[in-house]
């Protein structure tokens, strides 16, 4: 099988970590490198957490540091969902790792040059690193195949009534990326809140006795408490959505639309404005907006990935 080359830019983050486990296991995808960005937690934590995931998975994906703060604003972490350390405050070993001086945007660009027109950028945090890369390397827009990101919403927001966290955290970066002319796949709250991992799912994962299964249940503890406050039946696998969309688009419903980001308002700062339902359309339809998912099938695949059973099943 021809595996699709992927670069992951993330702010790990419990659902980033779970997305990473899926990305590692899915036979349709080939992960080439990982960059960390400030978002769910400060950069020092998200960078450290990716290394800790390398340790847990027994992998040695190259990891690069990206932006310490948004383009123009101050950083705001989401500790209520992700824990103080960004990874659910689960004790994980600190594996020895190479300290790479290369920055996220340079590493991403170099990787894209090795796979011109083919590299899929999956961004599961604020779009700061992607924006810096596009600002520094104008030709990157033609080198990338597409950017699949977790962020935004075609309806309501979760950090403010209008805005979703990743886009709200760095709206100017999102604007730069949205206006860059690169094909976009937007996995916003419309789809991600349907991709629910339920208590019975993480109980099953933990009962396997496998470290990744036990870790999954443990790391979701703060997220589950926060989700219950919201009246949700489980924890949304936000960041796993773009990963599964790339590997299994047949599980999703998506619609082409114009998407813009509000950066010049207080109440709606960071709102992703789509023209999906409006009589009035934007001039350019720049994104595929993912709206629904076959939840049961995606979660089944995700559990297989976490338990390391996916490759064996698929041969």
């Amino acid at each position: 099988m021809n595996r699709l080359p992927v670069w992951l830019d993330c702010d790990a983050g419990v659902d980033d970590a779970i997305a990473l486990m899926a990305l590692h296991e899915l036979p349709e995808l080939e992960l080439l490198g990982i960059s960390a960005v400030s978002g769910n937690a400060p950069l020092a934590d998200t960078y450290r957490n990716v290394h800790r995931m390398n340790g847990l998975m027994g992998t040695s994906y190259p990891v690069f540091r990206g932006a310490e703060k948004p383009l123009l604003r101050e950083a705001h972490a989401a500790a209520a969902f992700h824990g103080r350390d960004g990874l659910g405050d689960v004790p994980l070993p600190e594996p020895p790792h190479e300290n790479r001086p290369e920055k996220a945007w340079d590493a991403l660009y170099n990787c894209a040059r090795e796979h011109p027109g083919e590299l899929n950028l999956i961004a599961t945090g604020p779009l700061t690193n992607a924006a810096v890369a596009l600002a520094k390397y104008p030709e990157l827009r033609t080198l990338l195949r597409q950017i699949l990101f977790m962020g935004g919403s075609a309806s309501a927001g979760n950090v403010t009534p209008a805005a979703e966290f990743n886009i709200w955290a760095d709206p100017e970066a999102a604007k730069l990326v949205f206006d860059a002319g690169i094909p976009l796949v937007m996995c916003g709250l419309d789809v991600t809140l349907r991709a629910m991992l339920l208590p019975e799912d993480w109980d099953e994962l933990a009962a396997s006795g496998k470290p990744a299964g036990i870790f999954t249940k443990q790391c979701l503890k703060p997220a589950w408490a926060a989700s219950q406050n919201w009246g949700l039946p489980g924890v949304a696998m936000h960041d796993a959505c773009p990963v599964f969309y790339l590997a299994h688009p047949e599980l999703f419903r998506a619609k082409k639309a114009g998407v813009r980001v509000e950066t010049r308002a207080a109440l709606t700062l960071g709102k992703t404005v789509t023209d999906l339902y409006s009589d009035r359309k934007f001039e350019e339809q720049n994104a595929l907006v993912v709206l629904d998912v076959d939840r049961d099938e995606m979660i089944r695949l995700l559990k297989d990935c976490i338990l390391g059973q996916h490759r064996t099943i698929r041969g």
């Binding site: 979760n158 009534p161 114009g258 813009r260 980001v261 509000e262 109440l267 409006s278 009035r280």
Partner: protein
């Protein structure tokens, strides 16, 4: 179930085909008692919407004071919708010339007088931009307890129509809408979420036309006119934006609603005029609006067609 005691209402709008149909529905219902009518600039200039208000009231035999509204939104220049409602603001069938003049009182003054003189709280049905209602609330905060609620057509929690984020009525005067939504007066919000589902289909126009009374004839032609514009946008019928604000008072059981805290965006590159609902309770604020989200379309159409019979039997 029918209330024995009719609900007193003030009709504030910018007729406009769907305003006119909303008013026709209100006048036809024994559950409502119309105390006054006020015009607002929106679908057309204040001169045109006021003239249309007079003509519609004359047609319906609605002999109540008519207050003329402000010639422009609170802060912005007027914005009209001739592409939807025509140059007159109410293009289509010929209408009777006004049989009576407008009141000497402005829209806001007439609203205030009507509220003051009413023994019980009055419902304001506002189907245009919120300019007059905001003027009333700014000038007479002491009358808030006299307003039972504001049933308005405006906004869209999921989307807009005049821009991707904003609906026309709110976009025309976002500052006025912000004043209304922040006023503390209970709001019943008929936004695009419901109004684009409240479709009157061509077969329904024919049922209205077949009633064979003079008002029903004209309503059928308004529906037809309104449909032609929307057909080009891909609608299967004419969306009854403004009649939703009246129908929700008459038949709340037809609608699915949700109480939400709704705020109005007045700034932005893309979002000016957006109505923002706090679906996930992230603000911690108590709801200020009962938002209509869905409707039993067929029942809505039946009730509207039924109501038009009034003008055959009951027209006095």
């Amino acid at each position: 179930m029918q209330n024995l005691k009719p609900i007193p209402v003030i009709l504030d709008g910018d007729p406009g085909h769907d305003d006119a149909i909303a008013w026709t529905l209100a006048k036809a219902s024994p559950q409502l008692r119309v105390l006054a009518v006020t015009s607002v600039c929106g679908n057309q200039t204040i001169e045109k919407t006021t003239y249309n208000a007079q003509r519609v009231c004359t047609l319906l035999g609605l002999r109540v004071p008519i207050g003329k509204g402000r010639p422009r939104p609170l802060l912005e220049k007027p914005m009209n919708a001739p592409s939807v409602h025509g140059e007159s603001g109410l293009d289509g069938p010929a209408l009777p010339e006004p049989a009576f003049p407008v009141s000497g009182l402005s829209a806001a003054e007439l609203m205030a007088k009507t509220l003051r003189e009413s023994a019980e709280p009055v419902t304001i049905v506002a189907t245009g931009p919120q300019t007059n209602v905001a003027a009333l609330l700014l000038a007479h905060p002491e009358l808030k307890p006299k307003i039972r609620r504001i049933s308005l057509m405006g906004g869209g929690l999921a989307h807009g129509n005049w821009t991707p984020a904003a609906e026309f009525n709110i976009l025309v005067d976002p500052e006025a809408a912000k004043i209304v939504f922040a006023s503390g007066v209970p709001i019943l919000m008929a936004g695009l979420d419901v109004t684009e589902k409240a479709l009157i289909l061509p077969e329904d126009f024919q049922r209205v036309a077949a009633l064979g009374n003079p008002v029903a004839d004209i309503v059928a032609q308004w529906l037809e006119f309104f449909y032609v514009f929307h057909k080009n946008l891909g609608y299967a019928g004419a969306p009854m934006h403004d009649p939703c604000a009246v129908m929700a008072l008459l038949h709340p059981e037809l609608f699915k609603t949700r109480a939400l805290y709704v705020q109005i965006e007045t700034e932005g590159e893309y979002c000016r005029g957006a109505t923002v609902g706090d679906f996930y309770g992230v603000t911690g604020k108590a709801p200020n609006a009962e938002c209509l989200l869905d409707v039993d379309r067929a029942a809505f159409a039946d009730r509207l067609v039924e109501a038009m019979k009034f003008y055959g039997e009951g027209a006095k």
